[in-house]
């Protein structure tokens, strides 16, 4: 049995995916350890994995906050990568890792594994970073464009992206020189030899000449057998969540609640701890008895039972909804959500609205459309079929074990 290390950016959405894979591998008798700076420790604890620390940031880079916030995020990202590059190799040796599962979004983790001589598998928990022709960077919300023109546009976008990521690229180059590795300074340079184990499925992706690696679909823990009673006593409802990072957007939640009232459909709102009790109460008061506001729901059953999902378009929520064939209205807020929204539009799998311009009226119209027009659900059939066959956490665990041999 092997000792398997997991390295990732310290965000709940990433940690949940690694945690589900770790749990599956632990179930097969392996030892699982999260390896990272102090910011990762609470995630390791929640996911029930061991933890091997090294010196580095105590907090995750904060997302949001306009241009100044973006500059800060770039700096924090570079700082986390540098910590991995400097102290990650010793931590992997200390953890006596036989193999490392490294998130594509923390290339410093891959650098650390190579420097420590630990074999690794990369995991694309978010949109895959591989730069196929015409594929723009994940956080760009452009619609797909065919041909040379699209290829040139994507290349331009990557140049800007590389420039923005200068600090992180510097950290990677420095780490390579420090450990005597050939210099690779772009995150996509660190994709594993066999490609990445990817959550994002081909049916919802822009066209790629070949798969990015083993595409396994959503990597989740099994749903508990004793599920909670159905929401709203089995009456139709919309499930709304803006993810763990944007959980505090009271204005947007208010728009969602008003839209649900206009559309005449119950709504379950998961704010992921981003709202105060008073704010949550104010939200409930918009339509008493028809709005159920909680920090977290048991998300898989909540999505499975929903007539539609209103989402920020985070990759995990989108894949879960697609897997159950639940139509979506996406309000992309940032990160790779713009790229995901563009892919959903191309697949005809969701209505996407700008969170800045959305009104209760426009959102009510969108909710009414996706809940009443059966074509939205039908458009998800290929995605649902692909996810059902992709294998999820088991297939991901197979890929990791395959790399062990």
């Amino acid at each position: 049995m092997a000792r398997i290390a997991f390295l990732m950016p310290p965000y709940r959405s990433h940690a949940a995916v690694h945690g589900a894979l770790a749990a599956r591998l632990a179930g097969r008798g392996h030892e699982v350890i999260f390896v990272g700076p102090p910011a990762l420790q609470p995630h390791a604890q929640r996911e029930g994995a061991g933890f091997q620390p090294f010196r580095g940031p105590a907090q995750a880079g904060r997302i949001g906050g306009g241009p100044a916030g973006f500059a800060r995020l770039l700096r924090d990202t570079a700082r986390a990568t540098r910590a991995h590059a400097l102290d990650g190799p010793a931590a992997l040796r200390a953890a006596r890792a036989d193999i490392a599962v490294v998130d594509e979004m923390e290339p410093g983790g891959s650098l650390a594994a190579d420097a420590a001589g630990v074999p690794r598998v990369t995991l694309a928990a978010s949109l895959p970073l591989r730069r196929d022709p015409g594929m723009p960077p994940p956080y760009v919300g452009w619609d797909w464009r065919e041909g040379e023109d699209g290829v040139r546009r994507a290349e331009g976008a990557w140049r800007v992206s590389d420039w923005l990521m200068t600090a992180q690229r510097r950290a990677l180059a420095e780490g390579c020189r420090l450990h005597g590795l050939p210099v690779r300074d772009r995150p996509s340079d660190w994709i594993g030899a066999e490609g990445s184990v990817a959550q994002w499925i081909a049916a919802l992706d822009f066209p790629r000449p070949q798969p990015v690696g083993p595409v396994v679909g959503p990597i989740r823990r099994p749903v508990a057998a004793a599920a909670d009673p159905p929401l709203f006593d089995g009456a139709p409802y919309v499930f709304a969540s803006l993810g763990t990072i944007a959980g505090g957007r009271l204005r947007l939640f208010t728009v969602i609640a008003r839209a649900a009232r206009l559309a005449g459909v119950n709504v379950a709102v998961a704010h992921c701890g981003g709202l105060s009790p008073a704010q949550a109460a104010a939200l409930t008061a918009i339509w008493p008895g028809r709005i159920d506001v909680r920090a977290f729901f048991d998300q898989l059953p909540a999505i499975r039972g929903a007539a539609a999902v209103v989402t920020h378009g985070g990759l995990n929520t989108v894949l879960d909804a697609a897997g159950f064939g639940v139509p979506m209205v996406a309000l992309p807020l940032g990160n790779d959500q713009n790229g995901i929204a563009a892919r959903l539009r191309r697949a005809g799998a969701a209505i996407t609205l700008s969170p800045r311009r959305v009104t209760p009226d426009s959102l009510a119209a969108a909710i009414a459309s996706v809940t009443t027009d059966p074509r939205w659900r039908a458009a998800l059939d290929p995605a649902r079929a692909e996810i059902a066959a992709a294998g999820g956490a088991d297939a991901a665990a197979d890929a990791v074990e395959g790399a062990l041999r």
Partner: protein
Amino acid sequence: MTPDRADVLIVGGGLAGSLVALAVAARDASRRITVVDSGAPQEGQSDSHTWSFHDTDLSPDAARWIAPAVAHRWPGQEVRFPSYARRLRAGYASLTSQSLRAAVEALPMVTRLPGRATAIGAAGAQLHDGSRIDAPCVIDATGRVPRGYLTLGWQKFVGVERQTARPHGRALPIIMDATVDQRDGYRFVYTLPFAPDRILIEDTRYSDGPALDHASFEAGIEDYARAQGWDGTEARREHGVLPIAMAFDAEAFWADAAAGPVPVGMRAGLFHPVTGYSLPLAARAADIIAAAMLESPVSTASVMAAMRRFALETADRQRFLRLLSRMLFRGAAPPARRKVLERFYRLPEPLIERFYAGDLTRADQARILLGRPPIPIRDALPCLREAPLLEDLRRKRAT
């Protein structure tokens, strides 16, 4: 062999004295040597000690005779700063109090005599028990820095060798990890991985005063270890206050020392003015002494002449290093010291190696000062001259 019939009497069994014994024995195995070793810590020292050197610090000869005393070797080392980290290619090695003592005790013609000297002269030493040892050649390796002739800053450290519960994962020494919080001047952590589950963690600070606040250093070490998950127990501890030289009146020191025993090591101000490290110069001095003993009949006077020549040359060569120390301590505010060092470690590796060995060329010196100066010219100018500090020292010695 009785200790009172020695050819060479070395007072002080620390680094400098032990290296003299090793070097002399390596050149002429018939030489009878007595080392008086108090075994007790001298000012600014502790019982247990680690001395390190870069392979490039030593002559091939010295590398050979020091080998039996080496406890650990590594194929390289690293330095780390907030925005710059690099691996240095020069091999690194450490001696410990134990390995050094064992190497000296293994020499057939060397007698280690536990004891403390109450008086040392050119012809012998008086011990605390009233006995006297006479020898044609007497070496003073007692380690006390001749403070009256030096203007000093301080590099203070507390080191804890930790037995870790699980492997710590470090393979190479990090001779300067300055990514830590800055406190009390310029602060860095120095780590030597002795074994997969053994690591020496030293909290080191370049401070204006020599006072050592143990609690603060211990907290620094504990923070560093905890952040890496190095749980474990303390196996050994050492501490020290190393001098950093900003001015040295070597002429006056050697003039005043002329009638006494031959001073070596810290006692002779023979240390690296910027880093406080004494091993490279102690090894060279030991070689000089061993060579002098081959040339003429062994006497304090003949060895003194050779040492004096070597030491004055060294002090002259170190002029530039003392300038760097002045810039570091007098030109740079404590928080700016880290920037000065970080900039230095970006320079080419051969230059860094020559810096540690104390062999900077004129081109190296220009390279360090020119380009983007390490500190603003306005702050650097008042540090340029050593003379005002020497004048101060002379005045103080006179009163």
